[in-house]
């Protein structure tokens, strides 16, 4: 059970129910200040650059990218795995913590889920582009066609991946929307603007908060939560099989599925932390997203960081212990001491060492430190994917195939574009949708605040 003496109240400041509604709705009603249009302008510019890069890719082909015959997967796959990893935060937050009855999730889950939806959209774009002829993307759907009918290969991890990500996007979006219904109804009933009343009324689907609605709502949340908990584990496991099934040194490993899942939750939580630190400062929501919340995320991060460190060591150990010369070459020559040393040691430092700062309470309670460390983790996780994708491919079994890899400005443009789209999405979310689940906050507001608890 929740021990308030140790963990403090979930919502500080002895709020009344009316106060919660008012304060969470405030960012929707007042103009957010000059930073919002500036941030939105920068994000849109990045997104537009991304659209330009995508236009070049589609019209001229993926020859405009830095990929070549040996390194057939470049930045797009790195970024795809990176975004999908970030997209695990939402489900990890809302679903794992829902099932484990961790009530501190209430102030964070809405934003984490929003982030998930935008990150998965960014991610899904990249493999589609990587197909080259993106207009034939529908070939991957198993539908009765005139080519045989030639069905897709159901044994292929690439098809599993497609299924997993499509399902993940649909399910996390529906879970997000379901959680929003009571809050959209709250806005509908509170707002004075006629336009808002009509729009939020339309999207609130006629929610009234009756006991009949609530019992089905709760029951559905637990069904979706329980069943989607599998997805938290399965989606990134499946992404890892894209690599692990192929016979490449550095990829062909049974460690990959758990390693990828943990890595995904790691990067997702880090991204949640980055955004939460900024949101609670910009919107003055420190009563809701308390220091204890940030502390809890930091503790999870330090724990996962240890797992990541162990996984890196295990990979090195197994490569050496297997006695396989290609494995040894890939890990000890190509990664740890070769051309991509910077990426390898950057990954170790950012993911396994820097998060150890979270052992100190002072670091866990200081928002600047939290921001810095979480940014380092985001970078470290990107470097990890770079290591996995590029260093296994650029020097494989045949030395005549050895090449270097560097991205072109189109690769970079596509990446910046996805960041821009993600940021635009998050900014619009902050402006038009309540950032925290108002109804859930109301049900936990008494925890730790009343004398008898």
């Amino acid at each position: 059970m929740y021990n308030k003496k140790i963990r403090g109240p979930l919502v500080e400041g002895n709020k009344t129910l009316g106060q919660i509604t008012k304060e969470v709705m405030k960012p929707l009603e007042i103009s957010p200040g000059v930073w919002w249009p500036i941030a939105f302008g920068i994000s849109s510019a990045a997104a537009i650059y991304g659209f330009y890069a995508i236009y070049i890719t589609v019209t001229q082909g993926i020859g405009t990218w830095g990929v070549n015959n040996s390194v057939g997967w470049g930045w797009e796959i790195i970024n795809f795995v990176w975004w999908i990893g970030i997209g695990h935060a939402g489900t990890a937050f809302s679903i794992f913590l829902l099932i484990l009855r961790q009530k501190w999730r209430t102030s964070i889950n809405r934003s984490a889920e929003a982030m998930t939806v935008f990150a998965v959209i960014s991610a899904a774009l990249l493999p589609a582009l990587h197909m080259g002829r993106v207009w034939l993307v529908f070939y991957i759907f198993p539908y009765p066609n005139t080519r045989g009918p030639l069905w897709v290969n159901f044994n292929s991890p690439l098809f599993w991946d497609f299924t997993a990500i499509t399902a993940y996007l649909l399910i996390s979006a529906s879970f997000w929307y379901l959680g929003m219904l009571p809050d959209l109804a709250t806005i509908r009933d509170k707002t004075t603007s006629k336009v808002k009343k009509a729009v939020y009324g339309f999207f609130s689907l006629g929610w009234t908060g009756s006991s009949r609605h609530w019992i089905r709502y709760e029951s559905l949340s637990f069904i979706l939560g329980g069943i989607a908990a599998v997805l938290v584990v399965s989606v990134h496991s499946i992404v890892s099989t894209d690599f692990a099934v192929s016979v490449e040194a550095g990829w062909h490993s049974t460690l990959f599925p758990p390693f990828f899942v943990v890595g995904a939750i790691f990067s997702g939580f880090a991204m949640v932390m980055t955004l939460m630190v900024l949101i609670r400062k910009l919107y003055h929501l420190t009563d809701y997203i308390t220091d204890n919340h940030m502390d809890a995320i930091a503790r999870i991060l330090v724990f996962i960081s240890l797992i990541m460190g162990t996984a890196y060591l295990t990979e090195l150990f197994v490569a050496w212990y297997s006695g396989n010369e290609y494995e040894i070459f890939t890990f000890f020559r190509n990664r740890a001491t070769g051309e991509y040393t910077l990426q390898f040691w950057g990954m170790i430092i950012c993911n396994a060492l820097i998060p150890q700062l979270f052992w100190f309470k002072k670091v866990r309670r200081n928002w600047i430190w939290l921001l810095i460390v979480s940014l380092f983790i985001n970078i470290g996780m990107w470097l990890e994917r770079f290591n996995i994708v590029v260093t296994s491919l650029n020097k494989d079994y045949l030395p005549s195939n050895w090449v270097s890899y560097s991205p072109t400005h189109i690769d970079i443009g596509v990446f910046l574009g996805t960041i821009g789209m993600f940021a635009c999405g998050v900014l619009l979310f902050m402006r038009y949708i309540p950032m925290m689940a108002i109804s859930e906050l109301k049900s936990v507001v008494h925890i730790g605040n009343k004398k008898e608890d």
């Binding site: 290969n153 599993w160 009949r212 979706l224």
Partner: protein, 177 residues
């Protein structure tokens, strides 16, 4: 004919709950209650149950069977292709797709059933007895159709005594709920 409802608005959860109990003890017909967040005691008192979990179980069963049947049909019957020397019915590698499509089926079907049973869909306008119920008030709605005037008064009085901040009487031509 217009339906008339006696509506009690409460500030506090405890008073609201004890009001429900008293109203039930005196055999008043509670039409429904409206709260800003789910309260489990309300579900017990009003004997609300949801059969969604049972339905979800069958959706899952349907998802598993139909996915496996589809994979078997495409890979064994309709157009068998040997991939990597594996048997046509390579069951273990069908499991991944089966799990995911089962989850997807359960999600979409349960959402659809939820939307149908709760009558929640885009643009739907359900009757709002008191708009403050989605903000910070707890609302009890008593159906007065079969009651005489004295017992209607009694219901209002009872809720007032138990701490309602406001008692309203409203008429609705048609109730959407």
């Amino acid at each position: 004919m217009d339906r008339i409802f006696k509506i009690g608005v409460f500030d506090e959860e405890e008073k609201f709950l004890s009001s429900i109990k008293s109203l039930q003890e005196q055999n008043f017909l509670i039409y429904d209650v409206f709260t800003p967040y789910p309260i489990h005691e309300v579900f017990h008192l009003l004997k609300r149950k949801s059969r969604l979990p049972t339905a979800a179980y069958f959706f899952g069963l349907f998802g598993i069977i139909s996915t496996l049947a589809f994979l078997y049909y495409t890979s064994v019957l309709n157009w068998p292709v040997v991939y990597g020397g594996k048997p046509f019915n390579s069951f273990p590698s069908f499991i991944v797709v089966t799990i995911i499509l089962t989850i997807l089926t359960v999600t979409i079907a349960s959402l659809a059933l939820f939307s149908y049973r709760s009558k929640l869909f885009p643009g739907r306008e359900n009757t709002i007895f008191d708009p403050r119920a989605t903000d910070d008030k707890f609302v009890i709605v008593v159906e007065t159709g079969a009651m005489d005037i004295t017992s209607i008064e009694k219901a209002g009085k009872l809720m007032n005594e138990l701490g309602a901040v406001e008692i309203i009487e409203k008429e609705f031509g048609k109730v959407n709920a």
